[in-house]
């Protein structure tokens, strides 16, 4: 076993230090070291999007990032979307539109959709589908997810002009 490395990060607006082996992915560090298990592993090779987190100003599949690469970085996970007990408009929209069935892909979709709405305040259906095509959902056929994201866009940014 390799010696562990200390990593200093900011996770969901809180300073977090953790120790990890150099071979551990950011996903492993979040789940097994820091204890934030809201971020899910579906494939381990970057193809399902369940482990999507915000790293700095971009979204990444955290199974393809090493924990040590997070040194000095700011990370947002699904646990950081709500403000206290107030759900993020995307979280609220997912519930109101029944946009989850089993819920395992939901954290990744929420993080990806949040990034989409920051880049495109009023995404078209095609833009939404293209952006979210890195996130697999096997339960819903995506219909209700797309509708939830578009409803959240209106909730956050008002009706498109």
């Amino acid at each position: 076993m390799a010696l562990k490395v200390q990593v200093q990060t900011t996770i969901n607006n809180e300073p977090v230090q953790f120790l990890c082996e150099p071979r551990q992915t950011l996903l492993e560090c979040l789940r097994d070291v820091v204890g934030l298990t809201g971020t899910k592993e579906g494939c381990g090779d970057g193809n399902c999007g369940s482990c999507t987190v915000k790293l700095g100003d971009r979204i990444v599949t955290s199974c393809l990032v090493l924990g040590v690469e997070a040194e000095g970085e700011t990370i947002t996970t699904v646990e950081g979307l709500a403000h206290g007990n107030t759900l993020h408009p995307l979280q609220k929209a997912f519930l109101e539109h029944a946009a989850l069935q089993c819920g395992i892909c939901t954290p990744g979709f929420l993080i990806a959709a949040d990034a989409l709405l920051q880049k495109h305040p009023h995404p078209t259906e095609d833009q939404t589908r293209f952006w979210l095509s890195n996130n697999l959902c096997r339960c819903t056929g995506y219909d209700k997810i797309i509708r939830a994201v578009q409803a959240a866009a209106v909730e956050i940014n008002g009706a498109p002009q």
Partner: protein, 732 residues
């Protein structure tokens, strides 16, 4: 059609587990952390068929950080002819054990051979690589027709007929006379590839074998009691010695009924003296768990000039994978299940091949056979110049129709579904341009009963706590709570559901067979009736009367009346808590018919198919929570479209799966699909107090043939194998 009005049923409340699932708090199997927990990993066979000559775990056991190593030799001796029931089918204990850890021979690439528990998953993987196995590779056989051919390599000793594990036959009427009366006869043979359920959460299990002899298992399973019973059988201990705690589950679709890791984690824990957690990789999921069978199906149908089917014949060969149990039974029972046909012969073959042992997948067996029936009918409709839905309508199964496998239908919604398709905006809209085609198809699934249990305890604030044992894969906490709320006259939000472990609730069957809202719903309904009976007695005591009425949430007698909440506040003064409970084993499951209309456009340059418009129609009986009914219809449709157009196990000649990642096993993404329109038809099931049929499965049956029929209209030629991907379209 029912005119009953409901207060709660048919509304769309927020699901009870919603906040936990959008904030990351919900705990799925892999999220479990226990003190002193260690991690397991599995060694899998690289060969599709080989004899194990030597298996040496010495180096792995000596690797620093390793706590335990197990092989099939660690199973306690048990009678090999014992049968274990899985809820949607049963199996021999020897097959079950053989699939969990291979003994003597490996039967597919990915077959588990040994397992290690170590301080973390990385060290466990290192140790697995140190296990030494000498294999004697044997010839492998990968398709049902090849496995049925004379001289094919045999997987097992002692099967009835070579690699054929089972033969089923259903026959009614006079087939020859039926075909003699036909004006048009079409016979076609269609192949489908092996496909996977594709749930996003990999299988996982954590086990702790306590020094008191009891085994506690935490896992993502569709049925905690089935996981308990199967694990106990494999470990040869009484069921009461196993306690299964069902964690939240990240999809199943039939694939998380069987146990794979649970008994292995238990054996490792027994040796290590610590809790052992095991989580599959995605490649493990593809190669080591049960996909749905590949198949070859031949269907011959005769129709007279009036458009009436006079005879139908089917021959089905399904690939079971390494062990018997290919779901050819349901395939044979559903192949003509939508239609009223007098003369039928159906033959089915359950064929073992060197692929992963297959498991249930959403209406298991039915899409394979419906593909043949529904594409043959499409050809016949064209030859006769009849609208394809009109042809189906003229032959639709009705109340009293006898299926070739025996049963006569009670009330069934086949005519209603076809009429809803014909009347839909989609079916009456023009196609947008060239290279486009529209296809239709319908399909049937039985739905099942099986036992369920539920307990409701009344709180002094007028709410109730619901204790139940059905894994919630898609909102069932809410569809169950709504049924209790409807009986009690309270809001869905006033029912607090909790899914508990196998020590804490009565036996409850799998979340499968579209049974949960039907059967566990019936248990909740009965438990609520029990609560009402007890509460009436309390009111009678308070009012000094014998006759108490209850309707719309109000208890009354003469001029006295209490709301449910008012009476709930008085329980302490009238004898203490009220707890209602019920255990049911319903026989009245009602079959569901689903239909699909799909518009496709094919790029003639690349063979790529775009899905332009989709409408899914299904008889729900009664939609308890319409949003989640729509969700089931949309999800099944999306899976069926993926199955039809792209998904397949791409095996090389040696039986290795070459596309065992989500990059190469191409499931539909958000970009591959349009919005999926839904039309819920409600023909109440007489076997349920609210008319529920169950909606989880029938919706995946029509997409395969509907896509095939649409492709024919887009490109003018018929494909006879699934997936109908760009390569096969271009090579036509």
């Amino acid at each position: 059609m029912s005119v009953t009005t409901y207060n709660v049923i048919g509304t769309r409340p927020i699901r009870h587990d919603g906040a936990d699932k959008v904030t990351g708090r919900a705990l799925y199997g892999a999220d479990l952390q226990l003190a002193r927990m260690v991690h397991g990993a599995v060694l899998r066979s690289p060969h599709a068929h080989a004899r194990i000559l030597r298996l040496d775990t010495t180096k792995a056991a000596a690797h620093p950080g390793v706590f335990a190593v197990v092989t099939a030799a660690d199973f306690p001796p048990a009678p090999t002819d014992k049968i274990v029931d899985f809820g949607e089918g049963d199996t021999l204990l020897s097959s079950l054990r053989g699939n969990i850890l291979a003994s003597g021979k490996v039967l597919y690439s990915g077959h588990a051979v040994a397992a290690v528990a170590a301080v973390n998953a990385h060290v466990a993987a290192e140790a697995v690589a140190l296990i030494e196995v000498d294999y004697e590779p044997l010839p492998c056989v990968l398709t049902a027709p090849a496995a049925m051919a004379p001289g094919a390599p045999l997987l097992h000793e002692g099967l009835a007929n070579g690699n054929v594990a089972e033969y089923v036959r259903h026959e009614i009427g006079d087939l020859a006379a039926g075909f003699a009366a036909a004006t048009v006869i079409v016979e076609r043979e269609l192949n489908t590839a092996t496909v996977h359920q594709g749930y996003i959460e990999p299988q996982n299990a954590t086990a702790f074998w306590s020094s008191d002899g009891r085994v506690h298992i935490w896992c993502s399973t569709q049925g905690s009691f089935v996981a308990r019973d199967a694990s106990a059988a494999v470990l040869d201990i009484p069921v009461s010695q196993v306690r299964v705690t069902p964690m939240e589950i990240g999809g199943g679709f039939g694939g998380k009924i069987n146990v794979y890791l649970e008994p292995v984690a238990a054996l490792l824990s027994k040796k290590a003296g610590r809790p052992v957690k095991m989580v599959m990789s995605r490649r493990d999921v593809f190669t080591g768990t049960g996909p749905t069978p590949g198949s070859r199906v031949r269907v011959k149908i005769g129709v007279d000039a009036a458009g009436k089917i006079t005879a139908a014949q089917a021959w089905l060969a399904y690939e079971a994978g390494a062990y018997p149990g290919a779901m050819v039974g349901p395939g044979a029972m559903t192949v003509f299940a939508c239609y009223d046909i007098e003369n039928v012969l159906i033959e089915g073959f359950d064929v073992v091949v060197n692929k992963p042992s297959t498991a249930a997948y959403r209406a298991p067996g039915a899409p394979n056979s419906a593909l043949a029936t529904e594409t043959v009918l499409d050809e016949i409709a064209e030859k006769l110049g009849i609208d394809p839905l009109e042809l189906r309508l003229r032959n639709a199964a009705k109340e009293g129709t006898r299926r070739a496998d025996g049963p006569r239908y009670k009330r069934i919604g086949c005519v209603e579904v076809i009429e809803a398709m014909k009347a839909s905006a989609h079916y009456n809209a023009p196609l947008p341009g060239p290279h486009c085609g529209r296809g239709v198809a319908i399909g049937y699934w039985f739905n099942i009963g099986l036992p369920s249990s539920a307990t409701l305890s009344v709180n002094a604030d007028g709410t109730v706590n619901l204790i139940e044992g059905s894994t919630d894969i898609g909102g069932s906490r809410t569809s169950l709570s709504m049924q209790g709320a409807e009986v009690l006259g309270i809001r869905a939000e006033d029912v607090h559901p909790t899914i508990v472990d196998t020590d804490s609730v009565g036996y409850t069957g799998v979340t499968g067979g579209s049974r949960t809202t039907f059967a566990t719903g019936l248990a909740v309904y009965e438990a609520a009736q029990d609560v009402v009976t007890q509460m009436k007695a309390r009111a009678a005591t308070l009012w000094g009367t014998k006759e108490v009425e209850f309707s719309n949430g109000t208890f009354s007698s003469g001029s006295n009346s209490f709301s449910f909440a008012q009476l709930a506040a008085q329980l302490g003064a009238t004898g203490g808590p009220v707890v209602g409970s019920a255990a049911v084993n319903p026989r009245g499951a009602g079959g569901s018919i689903a239909g699909l209309i799909i518009d496709l456009k094919v790029d003639p340059e690349t063979g790529k198919t775009d899905v332009l418009r989709v409408t899914s129609v299904q008889d729900a009986g009664k939609a308890i929570h319409p949003a989640y009914v729509e969700g089931q219809m949309q999800g099944g449709t999306a899976q069926g479209i993926g199955w039809a157009l792209n998904e397949e196990y791409f095996m090389d000649g040696s039986g290795d799966m070459r596309n065992s990642s989500y990059l190469d096993y191409r499931m539909p993404t958000a970009l591959d699909l349009p919005m999926i329109e839904t039309i819920i038809v409600e023909v109440p099931n007489p076997g349920h107090p609210f008319g529920v049929r169950g909606v989880g499965e029938a919706n995946i049956v029509p997409p395969l043939p509907a896509v095939a029929n649409a492709l024919y209209r887009a490109i003018g030629r018929r494909l006879h194998s699934v997936p109908m991907n760009p390569a096969t379209i271009l090579n036509l």
